[in-house]
Amino acid sequence: MTLTTELKEEFKDLYDKVKLCYQCGTCAGGCPVFKQYSSFNPRRVMEKLLAGDISAEIFDEQQIWYCTGCYTCSTRCPQGIDICHVINDMKNIAVKIKNAPPGIITEMTAILETGITAAKSTSALRKRDKLELPEIPPPDMTEIQKLMEVTGVIAKLNALKEDAK
């Protein structure tokens, strides 16, 4: 894959954000995904950015999509790197270069239509009950759709759908 000048700029921004990383692994050590699924390692993602690895695989690979956006890594990184945010930026670049995994379309559509990505499992509901947590109110769909409209998510989604055809 060849990168356009614009993407090179964006990549440079990413590099600037992570250049203090000394590969200590604190991010990985706390990452709930890495704990379950060792192929996704935020430290390795940082390593690739540091190494200037802008070849196909870094944005092509589906790995970054495993990040749940929990920000645990960002709060712990001793070098003050906002890893979660950087991964988010990478996801955006991936969408731009049309490398988003197909599943993302399903997820975005689900949010647009129902406000959630996955229905609550009965076991989860039972657990909530046991913990005496209140019932989850239904999502305010007008609000959500308005937000997705003004932030340009719907336009992006349509473009993704168009590409997927």
Binding site: L20, Y22, Q23, C24, G25, T26, C27, A28, G29, G30, C31, F34, K35, S38, N41, R43, R44, T72, R76, P78, Q79, G80
Partner: protein, 802 residues
Amino acid sequence: MKIGTFLCNCGGSIRNIDWDNLKAFIEEKTAENDNFCVYHESLCSEEGKNYLKEVVGREQPDAIVFGGCTPKTAGYLFEQELKGLNISPYQVTGANLREHVGWVSSDKDSATKKAKAVLLGAHNRAGYQAPVEVQKINISQSAVIIGAGPAGLQAAQDLAEKGHEVHIIDRQPYIGGNAVKLGAFFPSEDCAACQTSTGVRGVHQSSVRRCFYRSGFDLHPKINLYIRSEVENVTGRLGGYNVTIKSQPTYVKMDRCVNCDLCSQACPVEKPDEMNLGLSTRKAIYLPNITCSPTKYVVNRDECPEGCTECVKVCPVNAIDLNERETTTTVTAGGIILATGFQEFDPAIVEEYHYGVPGYENVITQSELARLLALTGPYHGKLQKKNGDPVKRLVIINCVGSRSQNYNIWCSNICCMIGIKHAITIKEKNPEIDVYCCYIDIRAVGANYEEFYNKARDLGIKFIRGRPAEVETDGTNLYVQVEDSQADTMLTLKTDMVALSMSMVPSSGVQKIAELLNVNVDVTGYFKGLYSKFRTSETNQAGIFVAGTAIAPADIPTTITKAAHAASHLDLLLTKGSVEKRFPIAEIDNDRCTLCEICVGACPFGAIDVVPVENPGVKMQVNPLSCLGCGQCVSSCPAACIDIDYYREDQILSQVEGLLYDNGETPDPIIITLACWECAYASTDFIGQGCLTDPEFKYPDNVRILPVQCTGNVSARLIQKTFEKGADGIIVLGCFEDKCHYDSGSKASTIRVHLMKQMLEYSGINPDRLEKETVYTESSNRFVETARKMAKRLEELGKLER
């Protein structure tokens, strides 16, 4: 005033200048006052020096202009010759015809033109030069040392052995600082509570080292020890500081107590022992630690029950006085050493390891682990959990709070080794205990450190490259979450105890001392050494030194070396008894001073005092002992009422006037470079040398240089007046901002130039006519580039319309 001009062709090497033409020019220009000019092929040859002496002796000039090589070398070359001829170095003004003219210029005509201007400039300035008054400063033969850890002790011992009276102050009731608490010591694997013996090995009966308690330190006739004491106030200056020491009572007379422990046995009060993390108890009257010194009992009076005198009753030597009061002592000192050491960073701040949180009692710091492992510790060296259960596994976490943008950016230098030391101590005693060490990088850079690290690996200590993300607990065990980054795997280490290698930060109270003494602290919060390469143990205040870990985290060998360095430098001063100050300093015209006190803040050396006077209440007064003559106050004063002889505004401007001389011959714009006399001027010399072999160093002849003491001396007024005199462009050339010889001068000047550019714009002058550049000789090409760029720009802009 009669001025003699000596021209020298440097053995014929300055071929580019038409010397006859130049000599005729200066003779004509300066014909009044019996001025004279002579020429010699090579003044620094034996024959040349004799000629110089003979002419000066015969003509008796009031000032000399030397036109030849750089004044940087000429100054030294002739100092000897001029001695006894009624001419001081301050009455010799250099015209740098070699490095600034002959070697830079490619063309004889242009070189001769420039030479005329440079020589005339120096001649103008020489007209103002008078000898500088020499001041004699007496130095008191005594020292005050704040902090009695390994650093303070070493410095005290060295100075006392030299014969100086030493007053050493520590806020703890014992000496030895952090070292007394450490137990074993790396890399030699003996006690930390041990210091060098006094006397000369092989001459006096002394082994290499002795425990603190039998060192006899507090008995040394030249050492006055003040424990439980702090510095209350300091007045005076280099050579004669008056230090007020406030001492809290120990309630036990040191000279009487025989260490029998009867008092402690009689005392009814039981309290947790701080020395042992509160894991054992002590009485209200107690011996802080048996390895420390003085091995004398102390009372924590606020813990005594009302009216109790049990200890007094049993003391066989009548040493206890429960009515002792706080005392204040004032001592005089020729100089002061700051040896206030370090403390561990607060572990609770790094929240993910849960230090101090209920349920995490077995998450401890390395200092605490040191106490657990020490024979004098609460469990007599046995490693056990707080509830008494044995420890089967220990996880060490390195770099806690160090090397972090969130906490402390510095590497604490020795934590890797502290962790390894503890791991080895444990493994050697109890091989069955499993020890893990989680690290980012292992930094084993001292003598025998790598060997020590290897030993740890040999012993089976497991090193995991990864910084743990979290320590968790299930109520019984601790769990350390860490990525083993060499194996790309996530580990959850179940463990009994976690030891945090805490960052080493400055002792609390450093800020107070810094303010009291007007010494600088670094961004790290540690005291700042005068310079990063050498003079590391001096501070911005002459006569105040810093030793040991008060300057940066270090091991004991480094601490001791630094302390000896500080002591020997202070000794250099004290031994002299008096010193002579022979350079010009700031002078304030108090009649014009508006009392704004801006200068007080501008002086990096705290040399300007606000002193009380009857009318108008206060006045600014320059302390001649602290002033280094940098001129930062001069440029900051809005009333323009401060000046420094030799670098006075009228003196500098007279030289500028000469440098601008063109006699209609130079229609080109002229660029004046105000170069600081330190690295910047040296860089311009270096460029001149470079031109001989490499044309890349050449810059245009319309760039003319004159020295200022520091770019901090260059005021907005000076810049404005230099333009008014006829300069078409100005370059302010200084040292790199962080390498300024006067701390903040170059930085202040950068800011000033920046503001000045805006002012120029307002007054319709193109701000590109003014530039600040910074250099050191190895980067002197930066000046060449700036000079060329400015010359090119002025070719387009033309001469400045006035």
